[in-house]
């Protein structure tokens, strides 16, 4: 039917297929290659850290690591059981101090404060604290707790860690509370709930996975912190409970400070203990982090 029409003139199509002979696509491919290489190079140290931890830490890790006290110079064997207990104790103190306060302040920021000046100032303060050098939290706890109550102690370390945990708990909880669907809050108000009942019975249970994510991340951060403990909790070669009584108002051991102290040790056994402690600490922190990410997947989003 179109046989009567003249044939269409051939269209001069540019070559559309990609060829590396074109300088433009060659440049693009080269840049892609470079980015890939840069990423690989950046991965080398990170994998080196993990491999060294597994190799040197795994070599000296044993059951005794968890049950025995740190070895003295030239002493063989030993472990860091007291440091694990100390870290757990101080992180627990820090969590008791910072988690309730952080969640309550987050409720204020997300629901009650609105756009008030106070909410603005609190949010700015929390963001400032989130980027705060950890050593300054230690200096603060030293000045506020150690010099006031006269002595290095687990609570002083706990206060220092709480300062670092508070902004993480507060800012993630605020985000989680903001994600609670408005219609759920409105339904609760419609049923005659007071604002506090809306928060306690609807908002907080719904936002709980997100809040727990923040708490876990804060715990992971606190467990690994060294600088705030250097001159608040110091270190101890004994168990928290020794001679039959709880001695938490005395210097307390922690994993992080043990790694720091033993890293510069001239004695091989102590260095090996430092590597084993580092492996335990990293595993602890990673497990808590992975749990936190699992919680964050459960969060109901609007």
């Amino acid at each position: 039917m179109s046989s009567g029409e003249p044939p269409l003139p051939p269209i001069d199509l540019p070559r559309l297929e990609r060829s590396l002979r074109h300088p433009r696509s060659l440049l693009s491919a080269l840049l892609s290659l470079m980015t890939g290489l840069a990423t690989l190079v950046a991965c080398i140290p990170l994998f080196s850290v993990l491999l060294m931890l597994l190799y040197r830490g795994g070599r000296s890790l044993s059951l005794a690591s968890f049950t025995e006290l740190p070895p003295a110079a030239l002493q063989a064997g030993g472990g860091f059981g007291n440091a694990i207990v100390g870290t757990a104790l101080m992180v627990a103190i820090a969590a008791v101090l910072s988690v309730p306060m952080g969640i309550l302040a987050a409720v204020f920021l997300a629901l009650l404060g609105g756009d008030s000046k106070l909410a603005w100032a609190v949010r700015l303060t929390a963001k400032t604290l989130a980027g705060f050098p950890s050593i300054l939290a230690g200096v603060f706890a030293y000045a506020a707790v150690v010099t006031t109550f006269g002595g290095y102690s687990a609570p002083a370390g706990g206060v220092a860690l709480a300062v670092l945990m508070l902004p993480i708990v507060m800012l993630t909880a605020e985000q989680a509370i903001r994600m609670v669907p408005t219609r759920m809050k409105e339904a609760a108000v419609g049923m005659g709930c007071t604002p506090s009942q809306v928060v306690c019975k609807v908002v907080l249970p719904t936002a709980m996975p997100g809040i727990l994510t923040g708490v876990m991340l804060a715990v992971a951060r606190a467990a690994g912190e060294t600088a705030p403990l250097l001159f608040t909790a110091l270190f101890s070669n004994y168990w928290v409970v020794h001679d039959g009584e709880l001695r938490w108002l005395e210097p307390t051991a922690s994993l992080a400070v043990l790694i720091y102290n033993f890293s510069g040790s001239p004695f091989d056994n102590q260095v090996e203990q430092a590597w084993a402690a580092a492996l335990v600490l990293v595993l602890l922190v990673l497990v808590v982090n992975v749990t936190a990410q699992a919680f964050s997947r459960k969060q109901i989003r609007d």
Binding site: L27, L31, T35, G36, A38, T39, V41, A42, P45, S48, V49, M52, M101, L104, A105, V107, F108, L112, L118, A119, V122, L124, A126, K127, T128, L129, G131, F132, P133, S134, I135, L136, V139, F140, A143, A144, V163, L166, M170, G192, T194, V199, G224, E225, T226, A227, L230, F231, I259, Y260, S263, G264, V271, W275, A278, L281, V282, V285, L286, Q293
Partner: protein
């Protein structure tokens, strides 16, 4: 009209209905008031805590501030016996190591962010790497320090020795690396802030509206012409914010530096000479500080606090402006 307590045919009604009519009970009102008070109090307590930190450090540093004045920041002498203190080498070391770390972490971090945000990889692989980066940010700094002592320094020493021998006339390589020094510290610092920089950069690149990229592709741009010409410039503020926040982290980082930098109170441009930073000075000297040195160290803490708060505030403001700038475009897309 019938009273709310009786229905139309005068029979008593369900007490629950009465409860709704009569508003919240007294106990509920008291709970409501006190809970809201608690929230309000916690928020205020955050401000009190911040003020307490500034007060505690500032007040106890006061004797040193009065005695040393501005000379503290410009003097290079640290002589407890003569009661002369200056932290210029520490300030120099803090900035020098942070800038080297930022240069490295910026280049590699943004490369990773581009690779993980510009559809180079399938979404599942991208998500996996995002989680891995988040996990790496969680490794404690003391572990990086330990790794630095036993891996980075032995690895760097022959390289540094060669550079010093053949290129020693360049001031950067003016001394040999005898152990701890500025370069190993900066390298480890770069590795530590890399996750921060790449995670925030990735968020910034992801926030660039897809329409802009599609327009560039439609005009015939190659993938990298789009990235260099459209995506990176559009996200530049966010990238800058990521760098500033990474810089803030580097300034305040303590343990890895205390373990690797060498704690030597000297002002040197050489990459291999031992140096010191403010945070490392605090970590090393504070536990053994006598009454005379304590206010001086708190003064150093005050300087460090001022530096990091300034840098972090700048970073936060830049990031906030970025989200305000693209907020409209992004909302439209949804």
């Amino acid at each position: 009209m019938a009273s709310p307590l009786t229905s139309a045919d005068s029979r008593p009604v369900d007490p629950i209905v009465v409860g709704i009519h009569s508003g919240p009970r007294r106990s509920e009102t008291i709970f409501d008031r006190s809970f809201r008070g608690l929230c309000y109090g916690s928020a205020l307590l955050t401000l009190v805590l911040m003020a307490g930190i500034v007060y505690q450090i500032g007040y106890r540093a006061l004797p040193a501030v009065e005695r040393c004045g501005w000379g503290f920041i410009t003097s290079t002498r640290w002589d407890p016996a003569a009661e002369e203190f200056g932290v210029l080498p520490e300030i120099w070391g803090t900035f020098y190591s942070s800038i080297i770390a930022l240069g490295l972490a910026g280049f590699f971090g943004i490369s990773i962010a581009v690779l993980l945000s510009q559809d180079f990889l399938p979404p599942r692989v991208e998500g996996f790497f995002k989680h891995v980066i988040e996990l790496l940010a969680a490794i404690p700094s003391v572990v990086y320090g330990l790794w630095g002592i036993f891996v980075v320094i032995p690895w760097l020493r022959p390289i540094a020795g060669w550079l010093h021998e053949y290129l020693g006339w360049i001031p950067l390589f003016g001394t040999s690396l005898s152990g701890p020094g500025l370069l190993p510290a900066s390298l480890v610092l770069a590795i530590m802030i890399l996750p921060t920089v790449s995670a925030i950069s990735r968020d910034a690149l992801k926030a660039v509206p897809i329409r802009l990229k599609e327009a560039a592709f439609g005009l015939g741009a190659t993938r990298w012409e789009t990235i260099l010409g459209v995506t990176l410039p559009t996200a530049s503020r966010g990238l800058f914010g990521a760098l500033v926040l990474g810089f803030g982290r580097a300034l305040g980082e303590t343990m890895a530096l205390a373990m690797l930098v060498g704690n030597s109170n000297q002002l040197s441009i050489s990459l291999f000479s031992p140096a010191n930073t403010l945070a490392a000075l605090l970590a090393n000297q504070f536990p053994e500080a006598g009454e005379r040195e304590e206010p001086v160290l708190l003064y150093a803490a005050l300087v460090l606090m001022a530096m990091t708060i300034a840098v972090n505030l700048i970073g936060a403001i830049i990031l906030q402006q970025t989200s305000a700038r693209f907020g409209g475009v992004l909302d439209e897309q949804r």
